[in-house]
Amino acid sequence: MPAEALKCKECHSTYPLDASYVCEQCFGPLEVSYDHSALDDAPALRRKVQAGPPSIWRYADFLPFPQRPQTALDAGLTPLIRSERLAERLGVGEVWVKNDAANPTHSFKDRVVSVAVAKAKELGYEVVACASTGNLANAVAAHAAAAGLESFVFVPADLEEQKILATGVYGTHLVAVNGNYDDVNRLCTELSSEHPWAFVNVNLRPYYAEGSKTLGFEIAEQLGFELPDRVVVPVASGSLFTRIASGFEEWLELGLLEGRLPTFNGAQAEGCAPVAEAFAAGADVCRPIRNPHTIAKSLAIGNPADGVFALDLARRTGGSIDAVADDEIVEGIRLLAETTGIFTETAGGVTTAVLAKLAQRGDIGSDERVVLVITGEGLKTLDAVRDVVTVHEVEPTAASFAATVPAPAGVR
């Protein structure tokens, strides 16, 4: 069994592989540590991955399970598409879009929840739960339903209606908390001490976080087992950002990949940018944001759990953490839609806008291969584009059409 223990990221104390997430000595975060000594044949490992199922479970050798789990709702193996039109508009060499909206509940959260729910079942839990800004809520409710587990999902009460409805429909216990995400998170951390439940992003967090590595594995596999030069990733808690790097690093160590870690650029919204602000200030800890206010609600975490590790990753790879304003986010959504045909939610608008900012600033070399990580679906945050879409209303006559609708302007 390759996963051997939970290990503190700070002081390296080790713990058994059960539902704990925090070091009893120093309160540092626990993560899964592996014994990969048996995985020494890189070409065979690559072939095994390629012959695996069309889901994250093709990477089961690198996930914390004794054998490949059987799950009812599979995630992963989403498209990685090269967009010449987006590259051209930005004036950069090569841009690839990893469209993780193409998951069962339309966000990358299906990856982490697949892993966490499989672990919850293995550990014998009957109830799963989470604190969520929406996408995680969708995923937990759906994967619990498919697995036949009961679920409790806690969200901030002001969440987008689309995300509330697309969670409730799965028959979960949906709890809307009068407060922001950090209040919801604090409540769930407290409740996790009182109830024998698997909170996917609290007491199962070490396993949950492993699910994000699969996004790194997949990008590398889809590029023909090569690393990109740069990745642009949204940052909320910082977990996805840092775990994509863990995936790359693990495969570099095992010889499945060659070269070095790409430049990591993190993307935040100005209305909630604790990591970007710490990056700009040269600080190595994040000052929490008290009242996040941005249209990118899925990134509105004022007190990011992995903020310090995100800062470290951006700095040691020569990257950055940047923030963009709400109007730039909407522009980002439109830019991606107009050039790639992919309609992303506000978080993807943040990521695309940060990519545009990097291009404008001249940070991106003309020979670079850049991967833009799109984590969620535009239909979940429709309000963001309500005011920027033009509809031509006409009578059902050719004359009315001719009088009202402008002639084609030529594609940009």
Binding site: E10, Y21, V22, C23, E24, Q25, C26, F27, G28, P29, V112, A131, S132, T133, N135, L136, Y181, D182, D183, N185, R186, C188, T189, E190, S192, S193, F199, N201, V202, R205, Y208, A209, A236, S237, S239, L240, V285, R287, P288, R290, S298, L299, I301, N303, A305, D306, V308
Partner: protein, 91 residues
């Protein structure tokens, strides 16, 4: 009557499984000092060089003390101090 301090699961081995306790103090720092005097070993788990460890969050009435005056944040009789690990959560 004083201030109530809620202890997270991870520290209850040091408090004889007590989930909460009452202490006296006019600030969070004073209340925690009183707590540390009562339970051996707790001080080093929560603080390092007199400051909160970076993965420990402390709340007064649900408000993170890092938004207030840190350990100097005043507390009144009847207030509730909650100690929680900071590493939970993800969007």
């Amino acid at each position: 009557m004083g201030v109530t301090v809620k202890i997270p699961t991870q520290l209850r081995t040091l408090t004889g499984n007590e989930a909460e306790t009452e202490v006296e103090g006019a600030s969070v720092g004073e209340a925690l000092d009183a707590l540390f005097d009562r339970y051996d070993g707790l001080r080093d788990r929560i603080t390092e060089d007199g400051e909160l460890r970076r993965f420990v969050n402390v709340y007064v009435g649900g408000e993170d003390i890092r938004f207030g005056s840190g350990l100097d944040t005043p507390v009144q009789e009847g207030d509730e101090i909650t100690i929680l690990p900071a590493v939970a959560g993800g969007s």
